[in-house]
């Protein structure tokens, strides 16, 4: 993202557009990544209920993945999952394998 100069931004730190939190890609904060074992997932969507960042993707009422652009890696989903289908793994390690085994 190109940062703007002081003449180009609203005064006082005001944010004058609604719904702009999507522009803030909080996934960069993550040091632990949730990895889902789809064999254990029952699509109960308890993770979706608890996720504070709306980062659980759902399609046709079924779990469809984790939006890593916004997932901060808090681990609440892993903690709440009744089937223990979500494991938090080291983000740096996970990045090494990003292109072969994970939704990103």
């Amino acid at each position: 993202m190109t940062l703007k100069g002081w003449r180009e931004i609203p005064i006082g730190g005001l944010i004058i557009d609604a719904g702009n939190s999507k522009e803030y890609e909080t996934g960069s904060w993550r040091i632990k990544r949730p990895v889902v074992d789809m064999d254990r997932c029952s699509h109960c969507l308890i993770c979706w209920v608890y996720c504070p960042d709306s980062a659980i993707l759902v399609e046709d009422t079924r779990f469809a993945g984790i939006d890593l652009v916004y997932c901060k890696g808090c681990g609440i989903c892993a903690s709440e999952c009744p089937r223990k289908a979500i494991t938090m793994v080291d983000e740096a390690q996970a990045r090494k394998g990003d292109h072969d085994d994970h939704q990103d």
């Binding site: 940062l3 931004i9 005064i11 730190g13």
Partner: protein, 399 residues
Amino acid sequence: MTTRTEYVKGTPVALDGDRAVAEAMRQVNPDVVAAYPITPQTEIVQRFSEFVANGEVDTEFIAVESEHAAMSACIGASAAGGRAQTATAGAGLALMWEVTWVAAGTRLPIVMHVVNRSLSAPLNILCDHSDSMGVRDAGWIQLYAETIQEAYDDAIQAVRIAEHPDVMLPTMHTLDGFVLGHSLERIEVLPDEVVRGFIGTYNPRYSLLDVDHPVTFGPNDYHDYFFEHRRQQIEGMERALDVIPQIGEEFGALTGRRYGLVEGYQLDDADFAIVALGSINGTVKVVVDELRRQDRKVGLLKVRSFRPFPADKVAQALGGKRAIAVLDRSFSFGAQAHPLFLEVLTALYTHGFTPGMANYVFGLGGRDTLPWQIRQVYDDLAELEGVVSAPVRYLTVRE
């Protein structure tokens, strides 16, 4: 054929400084006033709450539990698009300190009436400028009054200055506690409709109550944009250097009382000058008149706007003087010299002037400063050519 300029006729009344400010507030009729009483400002709040109780204003008056709450309530009211005002002094202003930065950083044109009082301890309710100097870096415009008339006029102009689209900064104007706050002076109070016409209507560009254009006030702002927002505040201050005298001229065209950033008194041909803020300027003028009758070339530069500090105007007014004394009614412990002196010295040096200079601290905790003591300062100046005097001198302090 010449036409005489007709000024608006004010009503001459005897008012003390606090009542004069309360009167200006009544005429401005702010949307919200949130304030907590503290000596020597109490009478402003007391009087204004009477106006509220009597239905003479439409203001929502919030009797808060502290000055921190007073400023916080003003911030909320101003962010909601209202005209918000408060008044305080001394320890009250100190308690507000944190939120004065929030008001300025959020660019809310709040107006604050400050009746200068020293800071404890030892406990003291009398005048010095430690309170307003304590918030001099917070991003507020600061105007200092010499007389009660000026305090009344500043209270009205402050609204226009703060809300000017080029400025959008909270504005405090000060009057010396007791010396002006509780002394009677004959002043001219403008007709209500003239004040209302002068200040006009505030149309905020952004407002929390404008539900069709939702706005977030006060979000997190870190390394990526915080500095840019500070730079904008600096710009607002710099533009205020143009706006303050523009509004002062407009006020003068209406009332005959013109205001700028500084006021020179017998300064043009003076060799020796005093620079000061606040009510002491009146005493200095008396001494200048006396010494002029003895053919001594002495003058005065009264600084009205301390923030923004009008460095160009100060250098222009003082450049070429042989020696200058700067009077500070506040103190920065451990500093080489005190707030006004350091500003004046910097202004002169950066404009290429190196006159003799001395810094006098006076009047701390309400100590009277009398004409003979000011005469002594002018006498000292004659020996100061070409020297920047150190250490700082303390007027009237006993050894």
